[in-house]
């Protein structure tokens, strides 16, 4: 009895003695993404963002490419053979040297998994004379941008298991992994043999916390110095705190309605325009997202070349919307919902709660569409239902958040989504002009003119209806300085952060 009592007491004491004190010398990062495994395809963004692994090519905040683990790159005259010179004297965290062969090994493994490289029509990746040689089946001008994507990260040969799944994140970055505890955390320390400028802060940690409210409280209580992704209410509250600074930046991600353009109720441009006219974008953005980022077109201003200031903005005009639907033969039924040939104008809107604002926006859209006599039933489900229903042809409306910067050149996303259709883009829609323009851009022909034309066609035909542009938010403790948001979401920029003393 006494023994038990003493044991319980000692447990209790061990729990309560170390009272929390800020400033443990570690730069603590908190974000929503879980540490699923060390493999680039699952949690690769965490390891690139933390500066643990690197890519051959880097992108600055404007999306301009600059050398990473490759010092330079050039393409052959027939545009089919790319050569990337591998940076000399670079070491992996396990002490082995970075060679062209090691880089080729990493990229060949990446190419065999689902992802952008798989789609890039690559014939062969080999090492030759200290350079990485990529041979293409078709020209792809954006290849260097593809190699800046997180799934193209370069891991040491010893990082991979026999089946090609990475089991350890052995990279070349300024920080190396000390512990990795899926699904929650990674701790890292500065890598003494890093090839570039050494980070000022020696220790860093990453913790996955799914709830935005909890993340905000961690910023407020001083638990974490760098808290990525705040919910709108917390952002407003934290901006009044004197212990925390909040930052926000436009990111190349749009909130939009994916429309089945082959659906009998939606297969005319007028029907889709009517839907678009029924959306009060500024009101919706302020009420739910709490920032004035109502979309005037699909591509946000941060997507240089693709955002066209000359385009006539998407408008809000319910009267005109009702007129257009009436012209299509729709008449109001007894309960106010439109009918045509005995059929109600009723649609299912599919969305997913992974981004908490989506179901809220869906509820607002339900109200706004009802005002022009369209009934919407919301189905908030698993995110995979959007591409699954796309593939089955059963999707009617899908409310999605789409990232245009899967690679720092949006052509990667445009090719996937609009040339001519894509899991997260157009559906039941065919526009040969866009296909030609996008393929031309991919080859390296045509420039901003082609981009503007694509944006113009999307604005006129509305295969997807843009609603708002996203902003990324960040709360940083005033004990650190130098933090910033990378709009391309490739790096937390930990190397540039110092203690504010």
């Amino acid at each position: 009895m006494n023994l038990k009592f003493a044991a319980s007491l000692s447990v209790l004491l061990s729990l309560s003695t170390p009272v929390w004190a800020a400033g443990d010398g570690s730069l603590d990062v908190v974000a929503a993404f879980e540490v699923v495994s060390a493999d680039p395809t699952t949690s690769g963004t965490i390891f690139t963002n933390m500066g643990i692994v690197e890519t051959l090519v880097n992108a600055d905040s404007e999306g301009r490419l600059y050398p990473g683990l490759a010092t330079e790159w050039k393409v052959s005259d027939d545009k089919l053979e790319w050569s990337f010179s591998i940076r000399p004297d670079v070491q992996f965290h396990d002490g082995t040297p970075l060679t062209a062969a090691a880089a080729a090994n990493a990229l060949n493994i990446a190419k065999a998994k689902p992802g952008l490289l798989e789609k890039a029509l690559i014939a062969d990746i080999t090492a030759r004379d200290g350079s990485l040689i990529v041979t293409l089946k078709e020209p792809l001008a954006a290849l260097p941008a593809y190699l800046a994507e997180y799934r193209s990260q370069i891991l040491a040969p010893a990082a991979y298991g026999p089946d090609g799944q990475a089991v350890n994140a052995i990279g070349t970055g300024p920080y190396r992994v000390v512990t990795m505890t899926p699904p929650q955390s990674v701790t890292a320390e500065a890598f003494p043999a890093y090839w570039g400028e050494k980070p000022q802060i020696e220790k860093a940690s990453y913790t996955a916390v799914g709830r935005a409210e909890t993340r905000a409280l961690m910023a407020e209580s001083g638990d974490a110095e760098f808290v990525y992704g705040l919910d709108p209410a917390s952002y407003t509250r934290l901006s009044q705190s004197d212990k925390v600074n909040v930052l926000k930046a436009d990111v190349p991600r749009s909130l939009m309605l994916k429309v089945n353009a082959a659906h009998p109720k939606l297969n005319t441009v007028e029907a889709r325009q009517a839907l678009s006219l029924a959306i009060d974008r500024p009101g919706l953005a302020m009420a739910i997202l709490r920032y004035p980022a109502a979309a005037t077109q699909l591509f946000p201003p941060s997507v240089g070349g693709w955002h066209v200031t000359a385009l006539e903005p998407l408008a809000y005009d319910t009267a005109k919307a009702a007129e257009m639907l009436a012209a299509q033969g729709w008449k109001a039924g007894p309960d106010g919902i439109l009918e045509r040939d005995g059929e109600r104008f009723s649609l299912v809107l599919t969305t997913y709660p992974d981004r908490p604002e989506l179901p809220l926006v869906a509820a607002v859209l339900e109200q706004q569409f009802r005002q022009i006599g369209i009934e919407v039933k919301i189905d908030s489900t698993n995110s995979s239902e959007i591409p699954a229903r796309h593939a089955a042809g059963t999707l009617e409306l899908g409310l999605v958040a789409r990232n245009f910067a899967l690679v720092p050149d949006p052509i990667g996303t445009v090719l996937q989504d609009y040339a001519p259709n894509g899991d997260w883009g157009a559906m039941g829609w065919n526009n040969t002009e866009i296909v030609d323009l996008a393929k031309g851009l991919a080859r390296g022909d045509g420039g901003d003119e082609s981009r503007a034309k694509i944006a113009g066609i999307l604005q006129a035909e509305l295969p997807v209806i843009a609603i708002a542009w996203y902003q990324q938010t960040l709360a940083v403790s005033n004990t650190i300085k130098g933090a910033r948001i990378d709009p391309w979401e490739r790096s937390f920029g930990l190397s540039d952060i110092t203690w504010a003393d």
């Binding site: 699904p183 909890t214 899967l406």
Partner: protein
């Protein structure tokens, strides 16, 4: 003999949980390949190509019965398989995540034992006194407060306002206190009431009066003749509490970012990670049997009426 019947019970639980989770996972709407692909690659990168790759890799086109037989066979050899999402062995993930939940649950129970019963016994010794009346109010309020709200209130007070404890996180001793307290206050609210009623009853018994009559002090009576009797209903209640505790752990885990079993189960169901769901459900089911067995055995030892 009772142990043998418990062993049989455990086997039945394993069999039923195994078949039931398998059937339920199969019966869920939606294509598993898509869900697994979404779990692995995230919503920006789940597409038809990824789903096809998953389907081919995992051989999801096979029929149900051979898959069930294979799983039960693996189970008999204590092989739980590999998570379809992360690729690591299910056993490893369960040990890690169940371990995290158990640590939290045990800390909560211990904390509640230190808070609830002592106050309850004090109140029960003087029914109707100030302690008793205060206990009734406070315990009703705490019991009525949902655990997520309790956790949030504690975070706001202890972490944000006072800065005594970290708001969330896992891995160090200091991370325990706040979530454990959030769970313990609700548990203590009830165990204090149970202890109070039991004490009151014991204090009215004839053997209590006899002990006082022969000249023992109040605390001597309590130590020698009271505690054992009070602890019987308390311990029974503690066993029951484990079910509520698991529920509470799941909710509190999600708020303080605790990498526990509740979190793991929810994610596994969402991304159709069948081996993870089966393994987790099985371990939880067997856990209940184990806890009940331990409580039964403890009661047989403690209960003064027990002749065994």
């Amino acid at each position: 003999m009772p142990l043998l019947s418990r062993l049989f019970q455990a086997l039945m639980v394993a069999l039923i949980v195994g078949i039931a989770t398998f059937a339920m996972m199969r019966a869920l709407p939606g294509d598993a390949a898509w869900r697994i692909a979404a779990g692995r690659y995230g919503y920006d990168n789940v597409n038809a190509a990824a789903a096809d790759a998953v389907r081919e890799e995992l051989g999801l086109n096979g029929s149900a019965l051979p898959a069930l037989a294979r799983w039960m066979g693996d189970l008999a050899r204590l092989d739980f398989g590999v998570s379809l999402v992360s690729g690591s062995p299910v056993m490893e993930e369960i040990i890690h995540q169940l371990g995290a939940s158990l640590q939290l649950a045990i800390a909560a129970v211990l904390l509640s034992i230190f808070i609830g019963p002592p106050i309850g016994i004090l109140a029960g010794l003087r029914p109707g006194g100030i302690t008793d009346r205060a206990l009734l109010t406070v315990s009703t309020a705490f019991k009525a407060t949902p655990q997520f709200l309790m956790a949030l209130v504690l975070i706001v007070i202890l972490a944000v306002e006072l800065g005594w404890l970290p708001a969330a996180g896992y891995g160090e001793a200091r991370h325990f206190l706040l979530p454990a307290l959030a769970l313990a206050l609700g548990l203590a609210a009830v165990s204090a009431r149970v202890a109070r009623d039991a004490t009151e009853q014991v204090a009215r018994s004839s053997y209590w009066h006899f002990a006082e009559w022969k000249g023992l002090s109040r605390s001597q009576v309590l130590w020698r003749h009271g505690l054992r009797n009070v602890s019987v209903p308390l311990l029974t209640y503690l066993g029951l509490q484990f079910v509520t505790l698991v529920e509470g752990v799941v909710v509190v885990e999600s708020i303080v970012g605790w990498p526990g079993i509740g979190h793991a189960l929810v994610h596994a169901v969402f991304s159709r990670d069948v081996p993870m769901v089966q393994g987790t459900a099985l371990v939880l089911g067997l856990g209940f049997v184990l806890v009940n067995t331990i409580i039964d055995l403890a009661l047989r030892r403690i209960d003064p009426r027990g002749a065994a």
